[in-house]
C-alpha cells in the first residue's frame, strides 16, 4: 500500500490545518484532486492558518504548482493565511509568479449570435457579401480582358504556354482513365435494360449521345475542378500568404491581369480539347465492352454511333466545356486571391474552390440542358 499523497492534521487550539505532501507530485504520477484539500474547509470551518508541509515531498513539478495555486486561491478567498514548511527550492517563487497575473487587454469580440433568426439573417448577409465579392471580381476580370484586347495588358507568353501544358497535356492521363471507365459503365448499365428487349445494339446510341452531349464535358469538368481549380487556388493562396501578390500590386501591376487572365484563357482553351478527347475515350470504352463482352458486331456498333451522334450534340457538349472552363478558373482564382494569410486559409481556399466549382458545374449543366430543351437543340 503506497503512502497517501496528502495527509491532514488539524490543531483545534490555534485553528491551524497542516497539509502534508508525501512522495512524488509529478505530471506522470497520479495526484489527488484539489477538492480533497478544499473539502477540509467544510470539515473545519474555523481554519485561520494553513501550513503547506513539503518535508516528505520526494519530487515535484508543475502539477504540484497547479494544485497549490488552486488551493492558495481558495485560501485567499476565505482569508486563510498560508505558510510553507520547508518548501523545495524555487517552489515559492514559481507560485508567487503564477499568483501575480498580468492581464492582457484583448479587443472585444463581436457577440456570438445563435438565435435561429439571427443565423438565417447572417447567412443571407453572408450570401449577399459573397455575391458582391464575385461580381466585384467579375468586373475586374472584364476590365483586365478589355486591357488585354486593347493590347495594354502585360501578357507573359512563356508562362501562358506553361499553363496550357499544366491544364491540358498534363491532365490527359487522368481524363483518359476516367472517361474510358465512364464509357464502360454506361455500356454495362444500358445493356442490363436493353437486353430485355434484345436491343443491345442501342448501347452504341446511349454511349455515344451521353458522352458527346454531356457526360464527357461534365466528367472533364469535375476532374479539372479537383485538379486544376484546386491547384490555382492553392498557388494564388500561397502567393497571397507570401506577400507575392502585394509585391505585384506595389509594382503597379494588377494581379487579376497578371495572374487570373492567363489562367482563365488557358482553361477555356484546354477544356473543349480535353472534352473532345474524353468523348472519344468514353466511346472507345463502350465499344470495347460491347464488342468483347456483349458480343455486338464492331462494324454495326460504329455505324450506329455515327448515325446517332449528331453535330448538334457535339456543339452542346463543347458549349458545356467552355462554360465549365470559365467556372473552374474563376472559382479557383477567386478563392486563391481572396485567401486568408495562413496555412489553414490556403486549405480552406482550396476546398472552397473545388466545392464551388463542382456545385456551379452541376447547376450550369441543369441550366444548359433546360435551355437546349426549350430551344429544341
Amino acid at each position: 500500500m503506497p503512502l497517501e499523497k496528502l495527509t491532514f492534521n488539524y490543531s483545534q487550539g490555534d485553528n491551524t490545518l497542516s497539509v502534508k505532501f508525501n512522495g512524488a507530485w509529478q505530471i506522470f504520477t497520479k495526484i489527488p484532486p484539489v477538492s480533497e484539500a478544499t473539502s477540509q474547509f467544510s470539515v473545519h470551518p474555523d481554519i485561520k492558518i494553513i501550513i503547506l508541509d513539503t518535508t516528505e515531498l520526494s519530487a515535484w513539478d508543475s502539477s504540484l504548482v497547479v494544485f497549490l495555486y488552486k488551493l492558495i486561491k481558495e485560501c485567499q478567498g476565505r482569508n486563510i493565511e498560508v505558510r510553507y514548511n520547508n518548501p523545495p527550492e524555487g517552489m515559492e517563487k514559481i507560485i508567487a509568479l503564477t499568483l501575480t497575473r498580468t492581464d492582457i487587454k484583448i479587443p472585444p469580440k463581436t457577440a456570438v449570435t445563435d438565435t435561429f433568426l439571427e443565423k438565417v439573417g447572417e447567412g443571407f448577409i453572408g450570401m449577399g457579401q459573397g455575391l458582391f465579392i464575385l461580381l466585384d471580381f467579375l468586373g475586374e476580370i472584364v476590365q483586365a480582358f478589355g486591357r488585354l484586347i486593347m493590347g495594354k495588358a502585360y501578357f507573359r507568353k512563356d508562362e501562358f504556354m506553361l499553363l496550357l501544358q499544366r491544364c491540358g497535356v498534363n491532365a490527359l492521363g487522368l481524363v483518359s482513365l476516367i472517361s474510358l471507365l465512364v464509357g464502360v459503365i454506361l455500356a454495362f448499365v444500358g445493356a442490363m435494360q436493353l437486353k430485355l428487349f434484345g436491343a443491345q445494339i442501342y448501347i452504341a446510341d446511349i454511349v455515344g449521345i451521353a458522352m458527346v452531349r454531356v457526360m464527357g464535358a461534365v466528367m472533364t469538368g469535375i476532374l479539372m475542378s479537383g485538379r486544376t481549380g484546386a491547384s490555382f487556388a492553392a498557388e494564388l493562396g500561397i502567393m497571397q500568404t507570401n506577400e507575392e501578390i502585394d509585391a505585384l500590386k506595389t509594382l503597379g501591376v494588377d494581379p487579376v491581369e497578371f495572374l487570373v487572365i492567363p489562367r482563365i484563357l488557358a482553361l477555356v482553351i484546354m477544356m473543349p480539347l480535353l472534352t473532345l478527347y474524353a468523348n472519344l475515350m468514353g466511346m472507345l470504352g463502350g465499344f470495347v465492352i460491347s464488342v468483347s463482352m456483349l458480343n455486338l458486331n464492331p462494324v454495326e456498333y460504329i455505324n450506329h454511333t455515327q448515325a446517332a451522334v449528331k453535330m448538334s450534340n457535339l456543339w452542346v457538349g463543347l458549349a458545356h466545356s467552355i462554360v465549365f472552363g470559365i467556372i473552374i478558373a474563376i472559382s479557383g482564382c477567386l478563392r486563391g486571391i481572396r485567401c486568408e494569410r495562413s496555412a489553414s486559409g490556403v486549405g480552406e481556399a482550396t476546398t472552397s474552390a473545388v466545392v464551388t466549382a463542382i456545385t456551379a458545374i452541376v447547376i450550369a449543366t441543369a441550366v444548359i440542358t433546360f435551355i437546349c430543351q426549350v430551344l429544341g437543340v
Binding site: Y154, N242, E243, D246, A247, K249, L251
Partner: protein, 252 residues
C-alpha cells in the same frame, strides 16, 4: 498646398484600422527627401498597417498621404498605380515570385515599364544583383536561397526601377546578426551613395540607431504617435518613459 519642397511624404490626420479595430489615430508626420525614416513601436501597434497605407495596399480610415504634394488616396486608380511605380518595397519575407528565378524577379519590373531591350535588361539585373552582393545568383530560384539572400534579392528587385522611396518592412526580422548588419550597411549605402529616401518599419534597436536619422514612435495603448525625431536624440532627451524603455530595452 504649402508643403515644403523637401518633404517627399507628408501624412496628415491619418486614422488606421485593422479588422474593424482602430489601431492608430490622428497621425501627422513628414518624411524629407534623402533621409532614413524609422517607424518604430512594439508588436501590434500598427506599424505594418501604417506601412500598408503608405505603399498603397490599404486605404486609411481617414486622413491623407501626400507624395511630393500629391494626395495618393484621392488620386484615381491608374494614377495610384503610376505613383506606386516610384516606390520600392522590401517585404518582410522578401516576397520573391517563387515561379521566377532571381534574375527574372529583378527583370520583371524592367520588362513591364522600361523601354530597354533584353540584353540591356540583363546587364541592369546583373548590376542590381551585384549591388546587394548576389553576383551570379540570377539563375537560382528563390527556394534555393537562404533567408538573408532572399531579402537581398527582394531588395535588388525593389531597386530595379530606381525608386524615389524605398520601404523596408522589418528588414532584420528572422536574420542572423551578420546578415542583419549587412542589410543595415546596404541601407546606409543606399542613402549615402544614391541619395534614396528610405522608410524602415522595425523594432530592432541595432538597426534603429545604425541607420535612422529621423523616427516616429507609435504607442499601442494611447493609439497615437508619442514621439518623433532623431533616434539618438530621443534616447538622450526624451522624457517619455515608454520611449526610454523601448530605446534602452527597459534598462534605464
Amino acid at each position: 498646398m504649402g508643403i515644403p519642397v523637401k518633404a517627399i511624404i507628408e501624412v496628415r490626420n491619418l486614422d488606421l484600422s485593422y479588422d474593424d479595430y482602430m489601431v492608430m489615430r490622428n497621425l501627422n508626420f513628414t518624411v524629407n527627401k534623402g533621409e532614413t525614416f524609422i517607424i518604430m513601436g512594439g508588436s501590434g501597434c500598427g506599424k505594418s498597417t501604417l506601412l500598408k497605407v503608405l505603399i498603397g495596399l490599404k486605404e486609411p480610415e481617414k486622413g491623407q498621404v501626400f507624395y511630393n504634394g500629391e494626395d495618393f488616396w484621392a488620386a484615381d486608380y491608374s494614377r495610384q498605380q503610376e505613383m506606386m511605380r516610384g516606390f520600392g518595397v522590401l517585404y518582410q519575407s522578401g516576397a520573391l515570385w517563387s515561379s521566377l528565378t532571381v534574375g527574372e524577379n529583378v527583370a520583371l519590373p524592367l520588362q513591364l515599364y522600361s523601354s530597354l531591350n533584353a540584353s540591356q535588361i540583363r546587364d541592369l539585373v546583373e548590376l542590381k544583383l551585384s549591388l546587394v552582393s548576389l553576383d551570379g545568383c540570377a539563375d537560382l530560384y528563390p527556394v534555393e536561397l537562404s533567408g538573408g539572400m532572399r531579402k537581398r534579392a527582394g531588395l535588388a528587385r525593389a531597386l530595379a526601377l530606381d525608386p524615389d522611396i524605398i520601404f523596408f518592412d522589418e528588414p532584420s526580422a528572422g536574420l542572423d546578426p551578420m546578415s542583419a548588419k549587412m542589410l543595415d550597411d546596404l541601407i546606409i549605402q543606399l542613402r549615402e551613395d544614391l541619395g534614396s529616401t528610405i522608410v524602415v518599419v522595425t523594432h530592432e534597436l541595432a538597426s534603429i540607431f545604425a541607420v535612422g536619422n529621423n523616427a516616429i514612435f507609435l504607442d499601442d495603448q494611447s493609439k497615437t504617435m508619442i514621439a518623433s525625431g532623431n533616434p539618438k536624440d530621443l534616447l538622450d532627451n526624451s522624457k517619455d518613459p515608454k520611449v526610454i524603455q523601448f530605446l534602452t530595452r527597459g534598462r534605464r
